[in-house]
């Protein structure tokens, strides 16, 4: 695979190292001269100096034959532009962008730039996982596919506690896919009895959170 990475900060540099280690071909574009010079010692021809939002710089990096473009500069507007140009002008099939300010995520969505990675949101997700609000944790969101996987604690006295999986009035578009009990996880069948204190993983269409929450909380 040939990957073009724009932005030679910590993320870009370490990503470059990892991808090379895995045997991929990589070009890393960095626009700050001092940073470029310090990484050139290590990366040699893999590092290229220039503004990755300039078309000729992307072309010099061989953007047209890239299988993947990763935009990880510290500037969201730059990342948006790089991704747009890579995808729409140079027809790069796969793009990944970093979102620096979570408030700008809506603009990536607006312009169809996905997937995006936001360190702030990832850490928030982890905090949510450690300190769940409403007992519900989002494990995976696939908005494009309109699917999500959530984790919930089963509360004592909830409609689900003590019930067979097949008897729980799960709304259409939702499914219990796994039960975590006493440190073990297993895939339930219809006659599995859910116990208070279990953690259940549910696969569901977005928008059903409130309905399923009602089934597993008291």
């Amino acid at each position: 695979m040939y990957a073009v990475i724009v932005g030679g900060g910590k993320v870009g540099l370490n990503l470059t190292r990892e991808l090379i280690e895995k045997g991929h071909e990589v070009t890393l574009i960095e626009q700050r001269r001092d940073r470029y010079l310090s990484m050139e010692d290590e990366l040699e021809h893999v590092a290229q100096y220039g503004d990755g939002t300039e078309l000729w710089v992307l072309e010099r990096a061989g953007i047209s034959r890239a299988d993947l473009l990763v935009a990880v500069t510290g500037d969201d507007e730059d990342n948006i532009l790089i991704c747009q140009i890579a995808r729409e002008k140079y027809l790069v099939e796969r793009i990944i962008s970093r979102v620096n300010n979570p408030r700008n995520r809506q603009y990536f969505d607006l312009l169809g730039i996905r997937p995006v990675v936001s360190a702030t949101e990832l850490i928030l997700r982890l905090i949510e996982h450690e300190v769940p609000q409403y007992g519900l944790v989002h494990l995976l969101d696939l908005p494009g596919e309109r699917l999500e996987i959530i984790e919930m604690d089963v509360a004592e006295g909830s409609p689900a506690a003590g019930a067979h999986v097949q008897d729980i009035a799960m709304p259409d578009g939702s499914l219990v896919i796994s039960i975590l009990r006493g440190g073990d996880g297993f895939v339930p069948s219809g006659d599995t009895v859910i116990e208070a204190g279990d953690e259940v993983l549910l696969c569901l269409d977005p928008g059903l959170e409130d309905q399923v929450t009602a089934l597993f909380s008291a």
Binding site: D78, I80, I85, R103
Partner: protein, 141 residues
């Protein structure tokens, strides 16, 4: 009379803002630097507000600031900050999120200006004009 929102009031943005106001348009300016407000006032008989202009402090990509500056009522949106990529991004936000009927972005890089123009965005590239003028001046050399 149109309502014109200008984001980025450097030398170009502030001059365009003043001339549009003088032509009788309603003009609102958004800039993150309070100094650009002074630039609007400099050398004028009245302050920008007394002349009828609006000024909002905020960053081009802040939705709240764009709303406060009146983007939802704007007939024309001008992106003239000093960053090409900021201008191209906020111009597309004005076009796609707020459906402003006329959107113009200043883009210093001719290559980017040309490509985005091909994507249906009005772009103005000062660099291209400068090159053309140099070429004219140097034509007889």
């Amino acid at each position: 009379m149109s309502f014109i929102l200008i984001v980025g009031a450097g030398r170009v943005g502030s001059s365009v803002a003043r001339s549009m106001l003088a032509s009788g348009h309603e003009v609102s300016v958004l800039d993150e630097d309070p100094l650009s407000h002074e630039r609007l006032d400099a050398g004028q008989a009245t302050t920008w507000e007394d002349a009828g202009g609006r000024f909002t402090i905020g960053h081009a990509l802040e939705v709240d600031a764009l709303r406060e500056a009146g983007i939802e009522q704007a007939d024309v949106f001008v992106a003239s900050t000093d960053g090409d990529n900021t201008n191209l991004t906020v111009a597309q936000i004005a076009q796609k999120m707020f459906e402003v009927p006329r959107v113009i972005a200043r883009v210093m890089d001719p290559a980017r200006a040309e490509w985005y123009a091909g994507q249906g965005l009005s772009t103005i590239c000062p660099t291209r004009y400068a090159v053309e003028m140099f070429e004219q001046e140097l034509a007889g050399v």
